[in-house]
């Protein structure tokens, strides 16, 4: 009887422990899914009359690749972000908080359209959220 309980306990514990070991990155389908999400999000951002002008001269494919790479690295994927730091890439662009929120909404919409769950969406946003402070109002920091 005692032994039986112990076996059940061990099985239960390993089952529990087994779940979190799948990273968020693997759970959502890896870079393939992220690439789809940011392909859609970047399209939406470039078509947004308030946001599009910010990306004049930035090829869509480059932004898509950088966002995919960066997010992959932030959610436990096997990527190294090769782009500029957020502070550097937003230098002198004077991104407002309203524009930042608009980008977040486009990314949220893209995640939903690609079929990520609400819970996966929140966990990805949690990884990206701290970037906000290095994105908005970066025009004065280097002087």
């Amino acid at each position: 009887m005692k032994k039986g309980l112990l076996v059940i306990l061990v099985v239960a514990l390993t089952a529990c422990a087994g779940q979190p070991s799948v990273s968020l990155y693997d759970e959502i389908g890896g870079s393939e899914t992220l690439d789809k999400v940011f392909g859609l999000a970047v399209n939406r951002i470039y078509n947004d009359p308030k946001l599009g002008p910010h990306f004049n001269g930035v090829p869509k494919s480059h932004l898509r690749k950088m966002l995919t790479e960066q997010t992959c690295a932030l959610i436990g994927g096997p990527c190294t972000y090769t782009g500029k730091s957020m502070r550097e890439s937003h230098q002198e662009r004077n991104v407002t908080e309203a524009e930042f929120y608009a980008v977040v909404e486009h990314v949220q919409q893209a995640m939903r359209l690609i079929g990520l769950t609400y819970q996966q969406e929140n966990r990805i946003l949690a990884a990206l959220a701290p970037l906000k402070k290095d994105i908005i109002y970066q025009q004065t920091t280097t002087i």
Partner: protein, 316 residues
């Protein structure tokens, strides 16, 4: 809910279809508390009313109703959020007291000589100011640092000294309204509070988790509806208020709240901790609807003052 309020809400709801709200994310402005301040249902949060970003000025209009049987609390008001930094709000509260309660009060005070009296209304106006001091409740993830705001609520009870007439028009106690009758000594007071709010994105098995804590210095009896201060207690008391909510979808929040009260008047006006469970629905950034079960603890001649609370906020 009277006709004027319903029409007001209708006009606001239809007019917002053509007016853009602010840029912030849906539900990030919270709902509107019954004191007119952005927050939960019964307590302020550190968020600024409306969906305005640091560059925008937006606002809310809201109404609330709490049905407690012998008492009905109807409240409405508006708030403006400036640059996600400053919040100004105005609120009118109306507590309708049924004749049974007023009759009981007279019965007790006159040792049975007067047993019936018409119902009455206790009205209160609240002007609020809130300033976000620091922090970002939503985007500062990976840190415990909450968003913190400080606020004041100036409250003026309009019926502190409104005489209560009997059914035949006689006025046994001139210039004495319900708050004064129960022992309150002031008709106005200023609450000062500090609120800390923190949202954990994906914090509850992938669902967003919100925690808010508010510390309030107040001289109010039952939120000021029963006046301020008493003969032997005219100082500030520290009260604690909190909200805990989970957002199981992007448009829904479910949670609990509590709010302590000092029992300054005692006797008939004894106060207890207020609690509620709520579900809020944010279909889009234009409006939200909240239903709650509120337990006010106790009101005069109502040992179990609890009932359904409904609250609607329109974002402008």
């Amino acid at each position: 809910m009277n006709f004027k309020q319903i029409m007001g809400l209708f006009v606001l709801t239809t007019s917002t279809q053509v007016v853009a709200t602010g840029s912030s994310l849906v539900a990030s402005g919270g709902i509107t508390s019954f004191e007119g301040t952005a927050g939960g249902g019964i307590t302020p949060w550190a968020v600024i009313a409306g969906y305005g970003s640091a560059e925008e000025i937006n606002g809310t209009a809201a109404l609330q109703q709490l049905d407690l049987g012998e008492y009905q609390l109807r409240t409405f008001g508006a708030a403006i959020g400036i640059y996600d930094r400053v919040e100004l709000s105005v609120q009118r509260q109306n507590l309708k007291v049924e004749s049974g309660v007023v009759g009981n009060v007279f019965n007790l005070l006159t040792a049975g000589a007067i047993q019936t009296a018409p119902g009455t209304d206790i009205e209160q106006d609240i002007v609020g100011l809130k300033v976000r001091l620091f922090g970002d409740a939503i985007f500062a993830q990976g840190t415990w640092m909450p968003q913190v705001s400080a606020g004041v609520q100036y409250k003026k009870n309009r019926d502190f000294a409104t005489s209560l007439p009997l059914s035949d028009g006689a006025i046994p106690l001139p210039d004495t309204g319900v708050p004064k009758l129960l022992g309150a000594t002031k008709d106005s007071g200023t609450d000062i509070y500090l609120s800390a709010s923190k949202l954990w994105l994906g914090g509850a098995m992938g669902n967003n988790l919100l925690l808010n804590l508010t510390a309030r210095m107040t001289k109010a009896n039952t939120f000021g509806l029963l006046g301020f201060e008493s003969a032997n207690d005219d100082g500030y008391n520290l009260e604690w208020e909190g909200s805990l909510a989970v957002l199981p979808s992007s448009s829904t929040a479910i949670g609990i709240e509590w709010r302590t009260q000092s029992d300054r008047l005692g006797g008939l006006a004894e106060e207890k901790t207020v609690m509620d469970v709520f579900i809020a629905y944010f279909p889009d950034k234009h409006w939200s609807l909240t239903a709650a079960y509120v337990d006010l603890g106790r009101l005069p001649f109502d040992e179990k003052a609890s009932g359904l609370y409904l609250s609607a906020t329109v974002n402008l």
